[in-house]
């Protein structure tokens, strides 16, 4: 079957199976930034923005995305660049498997609550796991990103 949706501002029609998850449809259609890290919605590396809200795409059935607006990190390049700059300057990069999904989540936080305090930031991002960094440098970088002008 077919679904119509907008991905990163472009109208798309994808052929899907009715029990297929959005994650697999996106990967199959060349959005490599969307990744799978678990089987039960517990890691966050599959995050996309669905009508502007971060969701784990591994638990969204593609069939439910008819006419929805999807954003992957490829759709927020400029924001990813800004966050990458802070990550780089603070040494928050390691394997990077978690990074694109993190960029989407903090971008969404910035839109919702640019003034978020420490606890709010942590709570907002708690579903985005990272096994490499120990979180501290990431946290500093995210604070700087939220503090950026514009």
């Amino acid at each position: 079957m077919k679904i119509n949706l907008k991905v990163n501002g472009i109208d798309k029609t994808f052929l899907i199976q009715k029990n297929e998850y959005l994650l697999d449809v996106l990967r199959r259609n060349d959005y490599p930034s969307v990744r799978r890290g678990c089987d039960n919605t517990s890691c966050g590396v599959c995050t996309v923005l669905l009508d502007g809200k971060p969701v784990p795409s591994c638990s969204v059935l593609a069939i439910r995305c008819e006419n929805k607006i999807i954003t992957t990190v490829e759709g927020i390049e400029k924001e990813a660049e800004k966050l990458a700059k802070h990550f780089g300057e603070l040494g928050a990069d390691q394997c990077g498997f978690c990074n694109p999904s993190m960029a989407l989540t903090v971008y969404s936080l910035k839109l919702e609550n640019k003034e978020a305090n420490e606890e709010e930031i942590k709570n907002y991002l708690v579903g985005n796991l990272c096994r490499c960094t120990g979180y501290v440098a990431q946290h500093e970088a995210i604070k700087r990103y939220l503090g950026d002008e514009s």
Partner: protein, 770 residues
């Protein structure tokens, strides 16, 4: 230094953040066949019959592979020096299954769905056997987990499969028994550590295709591409020259990818069918069917005299390697060799034990590699001894621990799988690490505890060491080439797995060539294109591969000077090169690197300047650290809040201070995971309950309050620009530091990991009932 030890950003961060294609599955062919494994529901069974007729009839199923399809060639999946110190006890598929999650057979089809359907249709008849699920009864049990005749060791590792022993080891210096008898204070304690899971966020992933030259090209999320090529060649009898292994970006390894996992099946399918194939482990498979850290029991006796001198350490271990023996001996030896030298002034020291088979998920390499287990036992025991002696645990450590220029006889006796290498500690800033750490955590004011109405705050500490590669075994190499327009390519077999080695190695090359990191383009790693490197393990990359890069860069520079001298018709000594310009001494003749490189590429006596160099360590200078934890415990619930972890590290020069800090921070949190969060639970039938990320809790960002990570000044002569390693050392101290802090708070001693509130609760009840 211009580039080394400065704040250089990771060279790949931007593209990674933008989600560019980078990881193994991003390069899978679109039409890859899917390989799915049917996994054993029994901890131990013999496969009697497989009925796959219906499955094979399904449209879209290419093949079903069983043990009958493979020649019986035993190998080890462990990616380590060859001949491997791990037993060759694994077949691609076998008629026995030895743990819940073991490979029964594989289906190959055009989609996940059809493979799943096929798996559902296949009926397997098993003869269910009694398993061994308790490693303390495995040795000489009447159940024999590996009865098959073909399996073997490559050299003497103490492999005795009929006794369920994958390997064993023993050494004694002095006379432990006698020294213990002569001591004024003696303690004897038993510690247990759990089968920690790596939980790297990228699951094990592999894909393959035949290229137009009819060679098999395998993309693998591996730490050891060259070992993968060799093991596949041996296991499937494909000529090594027909195999190309490419390691793209790896989404975390921590030792979990220092072995082959899906590679064998995928390679077989592609080689056999000519079609591309791929396999991505589900998270459940990663937990259940790859490998974990070796659980251990460690019996430790310490003896001291009344003047506070530690006289003897007796350390007897028992390690559970699960169903297969990957890294069995070497991990166990590190439990001794990278822990016990911390206290080098003892008269006697013994380290011995067996690594046994059980019907659990196998164990293998994991950051720390035995040292974290040994450190938990020894550094807990030191505090227990000090308590008994009523002396300050830090003063005791300061008196007895390793100091600069000293050595330990253990270095010469214990290597990894073989004898070791004698060495002096040319750099050991442990004293400074301890002092700085005490200041940073404010030990004087906080030790042992501060009590308020409902909470207790306390501190605890531990010291640790690791290594920097395996001397005379780990080899790294690098190729550097000068291009027109004056930039360089750096090709290394060293494997970036997220630890930042591409950046660090680029910095080393740039420093030696007196240029910027932008001018050095690194590529890692590809068995066709990059020179050999053992891979990312044993904390070897910065030290071993880094030395190779430095050497290659130096030699290329020498070649460039020779060419420049030829161009100017002067002697090499008369040429001065500053990274950008060649100048002839005492003249105004000069030539830019760009003009030089263009000239030797296009116009006069053209040639390609390129150098390959290798490095094998002659020693393994240990990094050292002191770790201090501050916790707050709720008096009623015994919930532990980790307030701060101070790490003071001596890793020589930090080539990239930010990335080094990232290595320590990340390792501390993983170590705290093992110490406090990550409980491994099996049912009594041997099924892993903590086999997903809901039931196996790795630390989240809410669990991390504060990390204080600093480096002391240190310069290791033998390392590249003074560097030692930093990848593993951070993981070692948290378990003992936490156990010591809990004791300082509550006066109870938890001796099995993880240290949870429930265990504290039980122990407190026991204590109060006494």
């Amino acid at each position: 230094m211009k580039v080394v030890n400065t704040l250089v950003k990771s060279i790949d961060g931007l593209g990674i953040m933008k989600g560019r294609k980078a990881y193994t599955d991003d390069f899978a062919e679109k039409d890859s066949l899917i390989v799915k494994v049917l996994r054993s529901p029994h901890p131990f069974a013999k496969i009697v019959k497989i009925d796959d007729l219906e499955a094979k009839k399904l449209m879209g199923i290419e093949m079903v592979l069983t043990h009958k399809d493979f020649k019986r060639i035993p190998f080890t999946r462990a990616g380590q020096g060859y001949p491997e110190p791990s037993p060759h006890d694994k077949f691609v598929l076998d008629e026995y299954v030895r743990y819940i999650g073991d490979e029964v057979l594989a289906v190959v089809g055009v989609s996940d769905e059809v493979c799943q359907k096929a798996l559902d249709l296949i009926k397997v008849e098993y003869e269910v056997l009694n398993p061994i699920l308790d490693f303390e009864i495995a040795k000489d049990n009447e159940i024999i987990i590996h009865p098959e005749p073909e399996i073997h060791e490559m050299f003497d590792i103490g492999f005795k499969p009929k006794r369920n022993i994958a390997a064993s080891y023993g050494m004694e210096i002095g006379d432990v028994k006698k020294t213990l008898e002569s001591c004024d204070y003696v303690i004897k304690e038993t510690f247990y550590t759990q089968a920690q899971a790596h939980v790297m966020l990228e699951p094990h992933t592999v894909n393959a295709r035949m290229d137009y030259m009819n060679r098999i090209v395998i993309f693998s999320a591996t730490q050891t591409p060259f070992h993968v090529r060799r093991i596949i060649s041996q296991g499937l009898e494909i000529p090594m020259s027909k195999i190309r292994v490419i390691k793209p970006r790896v989404g975390g390894g921590f030792g979990g990818k220092q072995a082959i996992h899906g590679e064998m099946l995928v390679a077989y399918v592609t080689y056999k069918t000519g079609k591309p194939a791929k396999m991505i482990y589900t998270r459940k498979e990663v937990f259940e069917s790859t490998y974990s850290r070796h659980p251990m029991r460690i019996d430790i006796s310490l003896g001291a005299d009344k003047d506070g001198n530690l006289k003897v350490i007796d350390c007897l271990g028992l390690s559970d390697t699960g169903a297969y023996g990957e890294h069995a001996l070497t991990v166990f030896m590190v439990t001794g060799s990278k822990v016990l030298p911390l206290y080098n002034k003892v008269d006697s020291v013994r380290f011995a034990g067996d690594i046994v088979y059980t019907n659990h998920t196998p164990a293998g390499a994991f950051r720390g590699y035995g040292a974290i287990q040994g450190n938990f036992a020894l550094e807990s025991a030191i505090d227990i001894l000090c308590k008994k002696m009523k002396i300050d645990p830090i003063a005791f450590r300061q008196k007895n621990m390793m100091k600069e220029k000293e050595t330990s006889p253990i270095f010469a006796i214990m290597g990894e799988g073989t004898a070791g290498t004698a060495m002096n500690m040319e750099t050991c800033k442990l004293e400074e690490c301890v002092e700085r750490g005490m200041e940073l955590i404010d030990w004087k004011n906080k030790y042992p505890r501060i009590e308020t109405e409902d909470k207790i705050r306390s501190v605890g500490m531990a010291i640790a060491m690791q290594g920097s590669g395996i001397p005379y075994i780990d080899m790294g190499s690098a190729t550097i080439k000068l291009n027109d327009d004056g930039f360089y390519n750096l090709m290394v077999g060293a494997t970036e797995i997220g630890q930042g080695s591409d950046t660090v190695l680029t910095q080393i090359a740039a420093e030696e060539l007196m240029t910027d990191v932008e001018k050095v383009i690194i590529y890692s790693s590809d068995t066709d294109l990059t020179p050999f490197d053992v891979g990312a393990y044993a904390s070897s990359t910065t030290y071993v591969s880094g030395n190779a890069v430095k050497r290659a860069a130096k030699e290329l520079k020498e070649q460039m000077l020779i060419e420049a001298a030829r161009i100017f018709a002067v002697k090499v000594e008369d040429i001065d090169f500053n990274g950008e310009t060649f100048k002839v001494d005492n003249t105004d003749k000069e030539m830019s690197l760009i003009d030089f490189s263009n000239q030797i590429t296009y116009s006069h006596e053209q040639k390609q300047l390129q150098v390959t160099s290798s490095y094998v360590g002659h020693k393994s200078p240990p990094p050292f650290m002191a770790g201090f934890i501050e916790i707050e415990i709720d008096k009623e619930t015994f919930e532990i809040d980790i307030l701060n972890y101070v790490s003071v590290v001596d890793c020589g020069t930090t080539i990239n201070p930010m990335l080094a800090k990232g290595q320590v921070d990340g390792a501390i949190i993983q170590g705290l995971g093992m110490a406090h969060f990550e409980d491994v639970i099996y049912t009594k039938n041997g099924k892993l309950i903590s086999g997903d990320m809901l039931n196996y809790k790795i630390p989240t960002r809410l669990d991390v309050k504060k990390l204080t990570t600093v480096f002391v000044d240190s310069y290791e002569e033998s390392g590249p620009f003074g560097a030692k390693s930093v990848g593993e050392i951070g993981i070692d101290t948290p378990p003992a530091a936490l156990a010591n802090a809990v004791d300082n708070a509550l006066g109870i001693r938890i001796k099995d990991l993880p240290i949870t509130s429930e265990k504290i609760f039980k122990e407190m009840r026991r204590k109060n009932n006494e």
